[in-house]
Symmetry: C2
Amino acid sequence: MKESVIKEKNVKIPLYVTVYETLTQWLKEGKYKPGDKLPGENVLSEQLQVSRGTLRQAMLLLQEDGLIINHQGKGNIVLSNQDVSKNGLEKVGNPIVDFSIEPVDRVETTIGFQPATQKHQQVLKLRPSSVVAVIDITYYSGSTPAGFAMIYMPHEILDQSNVNLEDTNTVYQFYTKLLASNGIYGDSKLRMGQARERLANILEIEEGSPILILEEVLYSEYDTPVLSQKLFFGPEQHELSIRRKNDRMKSE
Amino acid sequence: MKESVIKEKNVKIPLYVTVYETLTQWLKEGKYKPGDKLPGENVLSEQLQVSRGTLRQAMLLLQEDGLIINHQGKGNIVLSNQDVSKNGLEKVGNPIVDFSIEPVDRVETTIGFQPATQKHQQVLKLRPSSVVAVIDITYYSGSTPAGFAMIYMPHEILDQSNVNLEDTNTVYQFYTKLLASNGIYGDSKLRMGQARERLANILEIEEGSPILILEEVLYSEYDTPVLSQKLFFGPEQHELSIRRKNDRMKSE
DNA sequence: TCGTATTTGTACGTATGTATT
DNA sequence: AAATACATACGTACAAATACG
């Protein structure tokens, strides 16, 4: 099988996902409104012609989306009727675009290649002979630079995906798709810093201006490093949303 | 039953949690090392004398902790042997303390009361006659202020919990406990801003210095507002960790 | 390259426990 | 106290992905 980072769409959709989509649709249509109690699980599973277990798997997904909340003895209560999951920072995405106050309407992408430094070999788990692609992206809101990204990616990942490296637009599309892919994850660090000369030039701000910096290594679903990147947010131009949540239960 | 925001500990522990703890222990002891494949689910469930379903529930918890990863056909692979879940910003916690580069070793807490403003009535879902507690906390690393928090909490929440309001230390303890409670959640906004006069004084920095601001309303497991707060991070003193992750699957 | 065995994923059914109404 | 509703736990069967000879 072709082992690629981006999964092709699965033709086979599990039943519980179908049920989840049906219920989501019901909520969107207003069949049940926020504050309402859904019918009992036994009733619902009968209506939908699935076992209660399958229904409960769907319910779990609805809970993850923050659409419902359930309590033993009480029932499943509708919290919201719309997909509130405007992906926050806790999801992998493109935060410079997602959280820009003024919409980002243009990007400039450049791509180059260099031998993997020792640091790259470490974080991206590469052999010394490897080549990494260096992708720089500048984001603009109108004529104002909104942010800048430095991305390091193993060459083979681009290679496997038949990306036309001449066309920087395609490269950006690929990067965006990568960020949206299923199961991708990473541990990120966020901090304030100061714009040095090069960055100050790119963002058209004064040297020494405070900026927000996000640094991370992203891994695929299969735990293989996909890219390492450093994102710089222009000052006063972003508001980052985060969904914070403590687990219910586990041990205690 | 006594309806309090902080849940008393449950005496009854589900079997799958016990299994989860057993497996966690095994990994910690090094019975299986990172990279190893765990025995098949049928074998394991037999060994542990539980059904495969129960074992799989435990496996789910292990996955959430990032301890294992599983793949259909392959098996359950150990990723790490230790509890890497040093709670990131995606969990509710006390970020000023958790992410301070220099450890926070002292806090100053003050508490006061005021009638709920219209905004408080809205976000905390209070009646006009309600009273809110205003808790201000200054965090210090040694003699340097590391951050400042402004917290608004419905009076009744403190009231229900029999906190001694004279003892500011106890108040702080209560706040900390609240943040760590199960099921608490909120949507937070993070942005850069400038320290105005009062804040500049508190943090002992120049007026206009750039600071990080986190603003949020927290809700209990039962979807009732618990508090609204605004956190200010001293400049250059924090590095925020976040675990970012895209769901595996769901629709597509 | 092709089956076949292994391993996890999905789906069903049933029974009982526990919290809430 | 009884009824309702979700939580846990067991068992079974088959599907789908992977590994291996």
